[in-house]
Amino acid sequence: MGRVDGSDEPLRQVLASAGHGPIFVEDRVQASVSAAPGEPVEARLLRVVGAALDGETARHLSDPFLEDLGGPVRPRLPLSRVLSEPDLDYLPWLELARRLSEGGWRTRIVGFHQKVWVSIEGEVAHDDRSACRIEIRGLDRPEVLLDLVLRPGDDVTPEVLGAVKERASRRSRAVGVEAGVGACVLAPGVAGLMAHELVGHALEGDVAWAGSRLSRFDEPLGPRDLRVIDDPRRGRAPWRIDDEGTAPRPVTLLASGRVGGRLLDRQTARRHEAVSTGHGRRGSYLDPVLPRMGCTYIDRGTTAAASIVPDTTRGILVRRMAGAHTDPWRGRAAFVVTDADRIEGGKVTDPLAPFVIEMDTIDALASIDRIGDDLTFDTCIGSCVRSGQPLATSVGAPTVRLRVIRVIP
């Protein structure tokens, strides 16, 4: 997408002179490319320009004129005509998707480039954010999905595709999992989703303020080397300032088996008599700010990761969880497991058909008995939706074992 019109200088001048309540401006280009064998490659592009003015009455404006943001500017042009359009080099994605579809794969690539300006009392902060991911599925086993973070110049190698093909072939022999409780090994990265749902959501400032179950828990839980951290500067979709202009800092949510910090935006920071941790985000200019997770991860442990499956007599090895939702008040979450294997006698045996696992926050954390030394990020990629606001988030974890988990076949 080519550049049009000018730089962001006119906008900066207006914001700097506006002098009233916080103003948030975003200019975002997002694209998705999809392809499947025998079908044409399709692409969608969207540019979104808008502003939120958080005064006495918060106003959310679609492509406003500069005057709407607080100062007389001539000529009267909508914001989208004043700014340089964000760059999103999606053309290589078309070629990659076409090549993969010719090889028999169903592919979807989604990405965005977002420019953000936040003005508070004349101080203007700026951030430039981008992220891109690719999903590759085999046609015959669509639940076998490879999720990759795609950075400029990245390719998908034959070795990677070979591994997906081999996995799809194995999964054609998937058997049903037995109901009940048992041990569960979460492959590298996967436990990050568990931390996101069970720990992160419960300690978002507003949820914690209202009394989520975990936020009220004052006893030790989990092993001493369990540390859960949220650091928006890491992962596939980092930010350097949040949507209120605050630089983010890592927050340790659990340490030494104790509940630690909270994820705070400005409003919830006031409630907690603390300062914002830089976790205030909006799904778009149309939405209010909420405290949100950025990159939630379980820190590296001390157990040799390679020893965890051999050390498990009977259980399941979860390789991918495709979706989850949580109830932070009851302290429960359910996860859809789309790729897993049975573990018998310390060995990985049959692949398992998709199933659901349910976790109780306190029981699940208390049940962790192995934390590996192979911290990995972004093996489960997805968006987090809260109060109708989607946000690209990251998770990470080493290999983790839980002694007991409830499996619903």
Binding site: M1, G2, V4, P40, V41, E42, A43, R44, L45, L46, R47, V48, V49, G50, E56, T57, A58, R59, H60, L61, S62, D63, P78, S80, R81, L91, L94, P142, E143, A179, D206, W209, A210, Q267, T268, R271, L286, P288, G323, H325, D327, W329, R330, R332, A334, V336, T338, A353, P354, F355, V356, E358, S387, I408, P409
Partner: protein
Amino acid sequence: MTDWAASMGEESLLSDARSLWERARLATRGRSVEVYVKHARRWGLRRDPDRASLHEHEVLEVGTACRWTIDGERAVAHVAMVGTDLGRLQHVIESASAVPRTDPASLATEADPPEQREDREPAGARFDPVEVRQWMSEATSISSVELGLTTEILVGPGGWRTLRTRARSSALIGRLPQLVARRGFDVTHLPVAVDERAELVGSSPTLHLAPPAAAPLVMALVHAAHSSRPWVGEETGKGWDVQDQPASPEGLAGGAFDDAGFPTEARALAAGGRVIAGLDGPGTYWRRSYRDAPLPLPSTIVVGAADIRPAPARVIHACRVLPLDRENWMLELPGEPSRYVRTGPAELLRSVRGVFGSPDPTPDGVVTPGLVLERIVLR
């Protein structure tokens, strides 16, 4: 009293849409062109986490979409943009030449403008912000409320125009916020409490799902069995009596014409224990937002009420559909403890054996009474 319908600036929006259409014709060198402009105005209140104060907000969103015929009239291209700027429309149409995109919904022609050109919200769009604030101050279970008026204008090939307005109100209720929504601006019609009781005991093979629990299941089944490749002839339970009713007065979506300008009509999707139709073709083309091209989609799904049973003592108030793969779903029935049903869409269709209670509009776009599911195995 605020009257949005009167203060909308409809004439100016119609004029903008016409100018955009003319610019699009030039930019596409005279191909068959359609321009869709959507203006959304929303006003609402949000309760502070301390539950004491209310914050007011107002949202103004304007978007434009344009479709035109390509490839010797065999396919349709689609672009969308925020705002109604003429220069930007020209730019996005020119940029679209590098973006392959075909649209499954056909474009109306110059010869088939809809008979009905206007479809206005019958109840108007009047509300008193002071009264809404007072109502919400007293309804402390509600964490936010919003009133929205959308105005959609379509300028079709040849320059024919349609206009539709819709007023809706919605609220988030409870700690795990549950969305409730109604047509119109009378917030006093919104429920102020949701039932979160967990009533599941034992392993009864019969489930009674109240409308909020039934609606997501109904929508998932409509997408599975009544899409553009419907399971015509498939056996269903007696309670699966389903229509798509674009003109339903309670419907949050729909209208006299679809989002491509084709006239709509009620369509029976299942009756007499069989799937009889799907959603496809002119009259079913709806846009999820101005950003999305029109697709064959449900408008307002109405579950029939021919054989309504009385409401039983124990009903389920929440249900989540968790798709495991194409053939297998897990229904999660939250409670203490949560219970699960492993099933599939075909099996579920057959298990809908009846309905109970009175039909309720839901934010999922479904108007449904409670559903009775039989031969269910709880896990």
